[in-house]
């Protein structure tokens, strides 16, 4: 593959399929966008890729890799369009999936509902077997029963089986025996084992993860094989890789084995792109902020890397609220997502207070200003009334906005009930949604033990730069950074991800008196697995890196802290180093050490990765390098100016590094608009990012 400089990133979203083709050697790139084709998602990829190749006068054979992110898994789960799936559980525990944590996620609302389990109860089966917490097999698996069950399942049209036995994280033997039995009896059934998909303690979460994995596996495999074939027909013979929710990429074979790791693979690319852009411009610590039509997502980028979490909740059925979704134990770039976007609806509530979101007008009818019959005022309507958006330049002029409709909606639903002017109401909507986002971001950043006042806000997505300045101020962030080409930013993230895979082994042991040879063996095993998977994807042994970490806590605590472990052989001599790492991290997070009790290790982890590709996109100042950057002016409303003032409008593509001006100012590019309020200073950094700071 050496010598092939061109790489492709492609994202299938709910509405659009976005693509970037970039030349590693020169940084030149083109982007493409087309409507998603839900019936046959790979069709849209072919369309948009053909177009881009034509523009570049390239053959598909010149492409080295295609990195792909997809919402296929998320959608299959939300729309419940996966395979007919059965669950084999330890006798007495088939309801773990439905009993869940036995908790209401909302205290006062008497009408809440839990999300529907992926596997209905009539397809959940008790299997005679029992493994204990230390791995002891109390009762061996009844393989004859499993064979009989598997035959019946296959005969009745069941396609997939999740096997999740109690304590299998400690000993997978019975699950493996069950798989063997199923294969013997009904080789057509797909099987996922919880000890392979998510080998961690807590039966509900592990079972849920395993169920999703096998539930979507057939669809994912068919889709990816179809995509491979299509690309091959185009003449592509490079590497097709999939973006994982962790921000790593994996081969098609790995993605097919563990499709649950593709949940959130699109948003992961956005966070990676922000991280990459931050590192490139000398800002390795950021909070990335991606605001679209229905939701906003924040992610902490720490020292150039997005923070990772080990669990994700999908299909939240209640206002994006924690606890109202189904858990998946997968490494995932840790983001907070809230129902705040351009389409979020504003209303006056029972207390006479202004509320915005979390419900959205969606694409249809959309905000009132879309002129498609929407009558409820939305954030986009407010932004338009405030003069932040140009009714004639939305999506670069591809769509016209109806300002009168926006005013009418805000007047009748908000301004009149509150007895304030339309502009005040619009400002209220703008500010309330900003604060909702800032609050969510603040708690999220603080929960990660970080100080939001230290992190610049990096805004992208269609609406991000419109709201970023005020959110940055609410967070006390030192600056808002709006990258050039906010619309293409996400796809660029696909091209910055290293090939990588994460492994974990659960083994709880006190720090004092660890069996160090066992620990050493665990790390080596995981590293060997990582090396094998990466070798299969073409990564040479010399280019591999393994990062070891352990999860630690005081004995008796339930939450762990991730502590790095040095490479190389470990032994009793490592104990002091690991303890010091734990204590330093604990102090940083919670201010002081816990009570004087022993410390233990619970999980052992290895993250194996290949080399991170270097991507240095050369964003041309566009086709209009000359001419004044200031293209026009228009009226915009700010509370500081107590009304509308004439505000200069800059053409983003004509701003050059070193340019600077004071707010209030509006900076427009095709897919996004930066709004810098009064009291701000805007400068263009050497990378073309617009940096908005405010007076202290």
């Amino acid at each position: 593959m050496t010598g092939r400089r061109w790489r492709v990133g492609v994202d299938i979203g709910g509405t659009f399929t976005d693509l970037i083709v970039a030349d590693d050697a020169t940084g030149a790139f083109v982007v493409g966008k087309t409507l998603t084709t839900p019936g046959d998602p790979s069709a849209a990829i072919e369309t948009v890729l053909r177009e881009a190749l034509e523009r570049l006068r390239l053959e598909a054979a010149a492409l080295g890799t295609v990195v792909h992110g997809t919402t296929l898994v998320t959608n299959a789960v939300i729309e419940r369009t996966g395979a007919r799936t059965a669950l084999l559980a330890t006798r007495g525990f088939r309801d773990a999936l439905e009993i869940g944590r036995e908790q209401r996620f909302e205290l006062y609302d008497l009408t809440i509902q839990h999300p529907r389990p992926l596997v209905p109860r009539h397809l959940r089966f008790d299997v005679p077997e029992r493994t204990l917490a230390d791995g002891t097999i109390l009762e061996p698996l009844d393989t004859a029963f499993v064979e009989r069950l598997a035959r019946e399942l296959a005969e009745r049209g069941i396609e997939a089986v999740a096997v999740a036995f109690l304590n299998s994280y400690a000993n997978p033997a019975s699950e493996q025996a069950a798989r063997d039995a199923i294969r013997r009896a009904a080789p057509s059934l797909r099987v996922s084992l919880s000890s392979e998909v998510a080998p961690e303690i807590r039966e509900f979460e592990r079972t849920s993860t395993t169920a999703v994995n096998v539930y979507v596996q057939g669809r994912v495999e068919r889709y990816l094989r179809e995509l491979e074939a299509r690309l091959a027909r185009l003449g592509f013979d490079g590497n097709l890789l999939l973006m994982l929710s962790s921000g790593g990429v994996a081969t098609v074979d790995t993605a097919v084995r563990f499709p649950v790791r593709l949940l959130e693979s699109g948003p992961a690319a956005g966070a990676l792109a922000a991280a990459n852009a931050g590192v490139a411009s000398g800002r390795p610590d950021l909070v990335s902020f991606d605001m679209g039509g229905t939701t906003a997502k924040f992610c902490v980028i720490d020292q150039g890397k997005p923070l990772l979490a080990q669990e994700f909740e999908f299909d939240r059925v209640y206002r994006f609220q924690k606890g109202s979704g189904l858990p998946a134990k997968v490494p995932v770039i840790e983001m907070i997502e809230i129902g705040a976007g351009g389409g979020s609806i504003a209303r006056v509530d029972a207390l006479g207070l202004l509320k915005v979101g979390p419900d959205s007008s969606g694409a249809d009818p959309g905000p009132a200003c879309y002129g498609r019959g929407g009558t409820e005022p939305t954030v986009t309507d407010a932004d338009l009334v405030l003069g932040y958006l140009d009714p004639g330049f939305f999506l670069g002029g591809r769509m016209r906005l109806d300002e009168e409709a926006a005013r009418r909606a805000i007047e009748t639903r908000i301004a009149q009930p509150l007895g304030i002017s339309v502009e005040e109401a619009a400002w209220g909507i703008h500010q309330v949604v900003n604060q909702n986002m800032a609050n969510a971001a603040r708690v999220h950043v603080l929960e990660r033990g970080k100080d939001p006042r230290r992190f610049p806000l990096f805004a992208f997505g269609g609406a991000g730069p419109v709201h970023g300045d005020r959110i940055a101020r609410a967070l006390g962030a030192p600056a808002l950074i709006a990258p050039l080409g906010a619309g293409v930013l996400s796809t660029a993230g696909f091209l910055t991800a290293p090939l990588g895979f994460d492994f974990v082994r659960s083994w709880r042991t006190p720090l004092t008196g660890i069996d160090w040879s066992r620990a050493d063996g665990l790390f080596r095993d995981m590293e060997a697995d990582g090396a094998a998977l990466l070798a299969a994807s073409g990564v040479g042994a010399g280019a591999l890196t393994h990062q070891r970490t352990v999860d630690m806590r005081y004995v008796g605590q339930g939450h762990e802290i991730r502590v790095p472990v040095p490479a190389g052989p470990i032994s009793a001599a490592s104990e002091g180093l690991i303890r010091a790492g734990f204590e330093a991290k604990y102090r940083e997070l919670y201010g002081r050490l816990g009570p004087p009790v022993p410390i233990e290790v619970t999980n052992w982890r290895v993250a194996s990765s290949g080399p991170a590709p270097v991507l240095d996109l050369r964003i041309e100042a566009g086709a209009r390098p000359d001419g004044p950057a200031r293209k026009s002016s228009r009226r915009a409303w700010f509370p500081e100016t107590a009304g509308y003032v004439e505000v200069p409008v800059y053409d983003r593509y004509r701003l050059a590094p070193g340019d600077g001006f004071d707010g209030p100012a509006i900076v427009e590019e095709r897919e996004s608009t930066v709004v810098a309020g009064p009291g701000t200073r805007c400068t263009v950094d050497p990378r073309g990012n617009l940096v908005v700071t405010h007076d202290a």
Partner: protein, 578 residues
């Protein structure tokens, strides 16, 4: 202080996020499974008058609301002039706080310069507080554990070592009990840090005027909502199994123009055993019920208490006198929302829920590890089914009114030599109705005997609704009763210490919720679905719902799909004919 609505909304949300930060820190640093898995806790922020302004997202209403009353007692005993930065106060006095000696309330003043500007408090259920193992068997509170009067946990940042030594010496789980107190103090401190940053950002010297505005708005919203309920006096009566005899909970709810009086006169006298409720806790669950019934969307704070007056005769089970035993007070306290909903049902048609499992099932397990013989103590929380709603089935195996979570079997088994042999939904335990009650559970616990001879062990189960299942609403049938006994068929006594042979297996089946509306009005397709899923048996479908369903498959078939069942329309019509 005049605040425009937008600024108010923004500041209000900030206070909520500060309270949530407090809870996040508490759960991340807690030691006991009771706090970190079950979340038997509450967190809140209070103004200088001791009025609750905001609470964190989850937790248990009994703690939240009782803590709110408890803070006032702290302020009387420790006026701001007696406090310095770094002071942290503590008590578990049942009559001052959450009504149970296991519940630790920790309060931290927030200093801005030399002035106290707010307080953060949390209440958590300690895994052990000494005395008898948590049960209902005590006759006096003195038997139930160590009572800590209002005192300092930290003085100017230094731990009160004398107190901690006394505490450690008196409890079975010193590391967990003390570790959780450290977590509570850390959580309050993280909350305080967030509040000060917020005040700096908005240039606030005091939050009291903001509190007045927030509390005033919640109060007005609740009063507005009350105005929409027809005035009148609404009564109801429910029964708990009690300890030595059933306990009657009688309630009269009087809806005024814009306030509510809840009177528990006529309830049983205080019990000689530990199921008595202090007035604080009675008030907590009564006001929770009104909030949930009348205006769930209004933010919860001091304002939600003001329109609600709660009285119970002194010396009754809902307003017990010292030194009554109170350890299992939740058993009675958790009945109150259901009792109040039952009373209000005629006044609020279509808006409430049927009776459910009510009390969360708490069982204390004590024994020895097989090899080391070192003792273990474990508290297991389990939830039965909730009542059906006017347009929805009840939630299966989900706590109500408590907001606690269960404990994963794998967590139980990794921390103790206990084995959970079964944990499944219990068929036919949901009360029949147009909307079915939530299902209860079937669970079974044993002890590891595979690693050599095991010793005797014991369980003490604070559970209820074995004799008195949750009532249906508007014609719905009651939920299935709870069950407690040994697998060999021998009975076991609830709320008392049961000593077990090493090979004993204990069955704990939390009850189901009551139905809503007549069962014969349930859509046959829903009944069919329930049968396919095994929520309802074929026999119960015919008997309780009048829906006759045939199973068409082979008797030995393991996989039984929806296509294997068919409604016998004629037989169903005949059965359902009035």
């Amino acid at each position: 202080m005049t605040l425009d609505t937008v600024a108010l909304e923004i500041m209000w949300n900030r206070l909520l996020s500060v309270a949530n930060e407090q809870q996040v820190t508490l759960m991340r640093t807690a030691f006991s499974t009771v706090v970190r898995e079950t979340q038997d806790l509450a967190c809140g922020v209070f103004d200088t008058r001791g009025s609750m302004i905001a609470q964190s997202m989850t937790g248990t209403p009994g703690h939240i609301n009782a803590m709110a009353t408890g803070v006032r007692h702290f302020l009387n005993a420790f006026p701001p002039a007696t406090l310095v930065p770094g002071d942290v106060l503590i008590t578990n006095d049942p009559w001052l706080t959450a009504g149970q000696i296991n519940d630790m309330t920790v309060l931290s003043p927030v200093f801005r310069g030399r002035t106290v500007v707010a307080y953060f408090a949390s209440t958590c259920h300690a895994p052990d507080i000494g005395g008898r193992l948590l049960s209902a068997e005590a006759h006096e509170v003195y038997e139930e554990g160590l009572r800590i009067p209002m005192t300092r946990l930290f003085a100017a940042g230094e731990p009160n070592e004398e107190l901690l030594r006394i505490l450690r010496a008196n409890v079975r789980t010193p590391e967990e009990t003390v570790g959780d107190l450290y977590a509570q103090a850390a959580a309050n401190a993280v909350g305080g840090r967030g509040l000060l940053a917020f005040m700096d950002e908005f240039g606030l010297e005091t939050i009291d005027p903001l509190a007045d505005e927030i509390i005033g708005r919640s109060e007005r919203a609740l009063r507005d909502a009350i105005r929409k309920i027809p005035n009148g006096r609404y009564e109801n009566e429910v029964w708990s199994d009690g300890f030595e005899e059933p306990i009657r909970i009688k309630v009269a709810v009087t809806i005024g123009d814009e306030d509510i009086l809840i009177d528990f006169a006529g309830s049983s006298p205080q019990s000689r055993r530990g199921i008595n409720v202090v007035l604080n806790y009675t008030h907590a669950y009564a006001s929770f019920a009104i909030k949930a019934a009348v205006s769930p969307e209004v933010p919860h704070n001091e304002g939600a208490f003001r329109p609600v007056r709660v009285i119970a005769p002194e010396g009754s089970v809902l307003n017990c006198r010292e030194p009554a035993a109170v350890a299992s007070r939740h058993i009675i306290g958790h009945f109150l929302p259901g009792a109040i909903f039952g009373a209000l049902a005629p006044a609020m048609p279509g808006r409430l829920m049927a009776g459910g499992a009510e009390p969360v099932w708490i069982s204390m397990w004590r024994g020895q590890w097989p090899e080391s013989r070192s003792p273990f103590t474990f508290t297991l929380f389990q939830c039965g089914g909730a009542g059906a709603r006017a347009t929805l089935d009840g939630l299966s195996a989900t706590g109500f009114p408590s907001g606690v979570a269960g404990v994963p079997a794998e967590v139980v088994e990794s921390l103790t030599p206990l084995i959970q042999h079964r944990r499944e939904l219990k068929t036919d335990s949901g009360g029949p109705g147009r909307w079915r009650g939530g299902l209860g559970q079937r669970t079974q616990m044993g002890l590891r005997t595979d690693r050599g001879p095991a010793a005797e062990w014991s369980v003490s189960a604070m559970i209820d609704r074995i004799d008195h299942p949750g009532a249906g609403l508007e014609g719905g049938a009651p939920g299935g009763p709870g069950g407690f006994g040994l697998a060999d068929g021998s009975p076991a006594r609830a709320k008392a210490l049961v000593v077990l042979r090493p090979d004993a297996r204990v069955e704990l089946d939390p009850p189901g919720g009551g139905g809503y509306g007549p069962a014969f009005e349930r859509e046959p397709a829903r009944v069919l679905h329930d049968v396919v899923e095994g929520y309802v048996s074929l026999e119960a479908a015919a008997r309780d719902y009048g829906v006759v369903i045939e199973y068409l498959g082979r008797p030995d078939q393991l996989v039984r799909l929806p296509a294997d069942y068919r409604i016998d329309q004629a037989a169903t019509a005949a059965r359902r004919r009035p």
